[in-house]
Symmetry: C2
Subunit: 136 residues, 2 copies
């Protein structure tokens, strides 16, 4: 069995949505943007190139699934995808639904606006909708 | 033959390095960070999900190749990867060598510091080194 420890900051900033074959998918607790984190459930990963080649391809498949799911649910103007890891080194990929009206447009979301909590019912509806499509 | 027009802003901000099977690889004219652009040579692409599924996997392979090449040449502290496209919609992927000492660390590079031209000999050395590894 592979040990998988989620970084405490990633865990605190997000909520569990679904487990795909490679990644844990989590929703950032930030109502400014519908924003998913994909975290491969393997230990000691920092760069995408730390994944085995076949897992890199699975990561791309899961990024595309999350992008299409977010686009389908939100009708966003653009999807932003990023793997930065300058602050939290554990490998994680951001898949973010962007709107021309959002708090950071057209800039990147990182460091742009303070996280705003979801209204609880809206958060539950979004998590349920994401889960229904991702687990289907 | 597939028509492929490079967006004028992407073209003006960067220099050609190499053609991989899917993407044109270009170096951003910004000495703040060794920074590659990967642009799939197909028309009318905006999102990664506009690529056929097999081309998405090829894109991941080429991202990993560029990441390993940049890391090998520069000895950087971290690779940043991003597909944003909020300003220039033509699909392009950033693969950036980051250093703890660089102008934007630990933030993202986009919008952080004005582009600084390379000293011509340094630019030529970097392009030659990239080309030698990417075309090998």
């Amino acid at each position: 069995m592979i040990r998988f420890d989620l970084n405490p900051r990633l865990e605190g900033d997000s909520l569990p949505v679904a487990d795909l074959p490679l990644c844990a998918v989590r929703l950032m607790k930030d109502a400014n943007y519908p924003w998913l984190l994909l975290i491969p459930r393997q230990s000691d990963l920092v760069e995408i190139t730390d994944l085995a080649p076949e897992d890199r391809l699975q990561l791309m498949t899961e990024i595309a699934t999350c992008a299409e799911t977010l686009k389908g649910i939100t009708g966003c103007d653009k999807i932003n995808i990023g793997a930065l890891g300058n602050v939290v080194s554990q490998l994680h990929v951001h898949v973010i639904a962007r709107f021309r009206s959002d708090a950071a447009w057209p800039g990147p979301v990182w460091g742009a606006a303070p996280a705003t909590p979801y209204e609880p019912a809206a958060q539950e509806r979004l998590v349920d909708a994401l889960r229904a499509r991702l687990i289907a």
